[in-house]
Amino acid sequence: MNIWDPEKERYGLLAPLIGTLMTSIIATLTALILSLSLSITISEYLKGVLKNALSITIEFMSGLPTVIYSLWGIQYAVPILRDHLMLPLYNHFQFIPLFSCRPLSGFSVLSAGLVIGISIIPYLTALIHESYSLIPIAYREACLGIGATRYETIRILLGLCKPAVIAAVILGLARAMGETTIAAALVGNSMTTSACLFTPSYTVSALIASQYANAQLYRYAEPVLYSAALAILIIALTLSLIGLNMLSKWRVKILA
């Protein structure tokens, strides 16, 4: 199941499939937590120049070529994450299966997931912020009218865009799954599956990036890679269709 041995024509795609799942979940979770806060900050806490500056910065970030994240990831993020996040977690929380293995080079599911997450923050923020500002002002006025604090208002408004946030998460998941450059550079390229986040693994796109060039040398390597690609393609397409659908339905509903 977990094997890549083209010389003997034995293949198993468990590691890249699980790896893809794990990295994209980590990425989406990170991005979700951070971009929820960011979009609230933009719409609730900042005004005028600051607000503009932040939203322009985020807009700028959303178009940054992902290869820049992988360069930065290799040289800065991975060593920093290994020494200041993974090692402490390993030392103090070994009993949790997620942190139960010693971080090796730092190239791992966790690093790839976090850096991909950082790279999709602007995308998620844009989606969430847009939906959040679509909510008719009447709701806000109603909240303030009954004397709700800012926290309570935000909670109510966020509750209203819950479907939009879920849609954004689905879209983010689709994007994180397809990410290649960051994954190929940071995931560690190793055919291992483990519950531990510090193990190097593969994602489907990283597997293609590192194996497709030599796949034609072997009989079944290429078809195997194509089937992996097909799987990820179908998943990504389905997810983004679902996400887009949810988003447009919600828009119609909230604006009605």
């Binding site: 060593p79 293995c101 190793s190 590192s210 030599n214």
Partner: protein, 408 residues
């Protein structure tokens, strides 16, 4: 608003100007080699003359073969031609130096993609590239399949070195590791650096070896370096490292126990070893030298522990029963050169092969390749990059023969 516009327009203007100047400079740059072209032509015309003047013992054989070559009176210009190659990362630093020199000399560019031996061969057989480089020669079955159409020349010799990253060890100290120990490490059977087996071989630093888990770095792509390295492990410790673990890609046992890290290409493995304390890896010698990695002394067939050196590589090369023509089968050479007998023989020596077709539909490709091989035979080995050794005399002959065959 106005200000923004002005800024944007000036910025765009700056980029446009920079690009235009860039293109112009590049174009003027490419015209430079014309001067050297005439040089090459005059050189080929007066070849025999210059040969006799600068006759050094090494070029004697060259003179013989060049007189055999019925060179056309004026070498057709290959300026502006491009050759596309892909393959091993093993000879990459050397090839890049050659490409630069060859371009300055002739104006012909060679585009080499260091993607690994497997990928190189794969693309070569798909006709996407013009030549491939691979550390092991073609397998006998592949050679049979393309027999008579495919040529191979072992054009540079290197060594696989075992490198490690143990901060506790003094710089300049080289651990001694036997094939058996390395095999056990990659099998996952030796788990800590202070294992008794390692201590026994290195009694002088036994107390400095840390009780840290060994992390094994291996190649994640289809790699000739892996094939050479695993061949060594199999020959040195057949009971531990079975035949099923030999090849361009291996199902690494150490990865199964969660202590393996994959790296893409020799560069990737080097980087992983650098970045990972307490790791062990295998790379081409030159990568260890330029990146200042700690190298292990490995045991050879006679039981001596050695670092690679020009002499110890050449000793290993003597064991190769070199075929007489580039069209012959070379597949036996890997077995002959790895773990070869001799007291001073470096056990993981390997030539790297350039693999090309006998004929090309595009005549200019054949011409450019032929010129490159000829240039290699005459000039290529004057200054070999540290970490490689020039191939023996017979190979120079093979290069000229291949060059001639391409001209037919």
């Amino acid at each position: 608003m106005v200000n923004n516009k002005v800024i944007a327009i000036t910025a765009i203007a700056v980029v446009v100007i920079a690009v235009v100047t860039g293109v112009i400079t590049l174009q003027t740059r490419t015209t430079q080699p014309t001067a050297t072209i005439t040089q090459t032509i005059t050189q080929t015309v007066t070849q025999t003359v210059t040969r006799t003047v600068t006759q050094s013992p090494q070029t004697v054989t060259v003179t013989v073969t060049t007189t055999l070559t019925p060179t056309t009176p004026s070498t057709p210009s290959i300026r502006g031609l491009t050759l596309n190659g892909a393959g091993a990362t093993f000879p990459y630093p050397q090839i890049m130096e050659w490409i630069k020199k060859f371009y300055n000399r002739t104006g012909a560019s060679i585009n080499y993609q260091p993607v690994g031996s497997g990928a190189g061969l794969s693309q070569f057989f798909q006709n996407v590239t013009d030549f491939a480089c691979s550390d092991p020669p073609l397998k006998r079955s592949d050679w049979e399949k393309y027999r008579g159409n495919v040529m191979q020349v072992p054009f540079i010799v290197g060594a696989v070195v075992v490198v490690y990253n143990i901060p506790e060890l003094p710089t300049g100290y080289n651990l001694k590791l036997s094939g058996e120990v390395i095999a056990k490490i990659y099998k996952g059977e030796i788990r800590f650096w202070d294992d008794d087996a390692i201590k026994m071989l290195n009694s002088d630093v036994a107390n400095r070896l840390p009780r840290k888990e060994i992390i094994g770095v291996y190649r994640s792509d289809s790699s000739g370096t892996t094939e050479v390295f695993t061949t060594y492990l199999n020959k040195a410790a057949p009971n531990i490292w079975g035949k099923d673990l030999v090849g361009k890609t291996v199902d690494w046992p150490i990865a199964k126990v969660g202590r393996g890290v994959g790296g893409s290409g020799n560069p990737g493995v080097t980087q992983a070893v650098q970045a990972t304390p307490y790791s062990i890896g295998y790379v081409e010698w030159s990568f260890a030298i330029t990146n200042k990695l700690q190298m292990a002394m490995v045991s050879n067939k006679d039981g001596n522990y050695l670092l690679p050196s020009e002499a110890s590589l050449k000793d290993a090369l003597r064991m190769i029963n070199m075929p007489k023509s580039p069209l012959d089968d070379f597949s036996h050479t890997l077995e002959e050169v790895v773990y070869a007998p001799g007291p001073n023989t470096y056990p993981i020596t390997s030539p790297s092969y350039i693999i090309m077709w006998r004929t090309y539909t595009a005549k200019e490709k054949a011409l450019a390749l032929s010129e490159f091989l000829k240039w290699l035979a005459i000039d290529g080995y004057r200054d070999v990059v540290p970490g490689y050794v020039a191939p023996p005399e017979e190979v120079i002959k093979l290069l000229t023969t291949a060059s001639d065959i391409l001209r037919q």
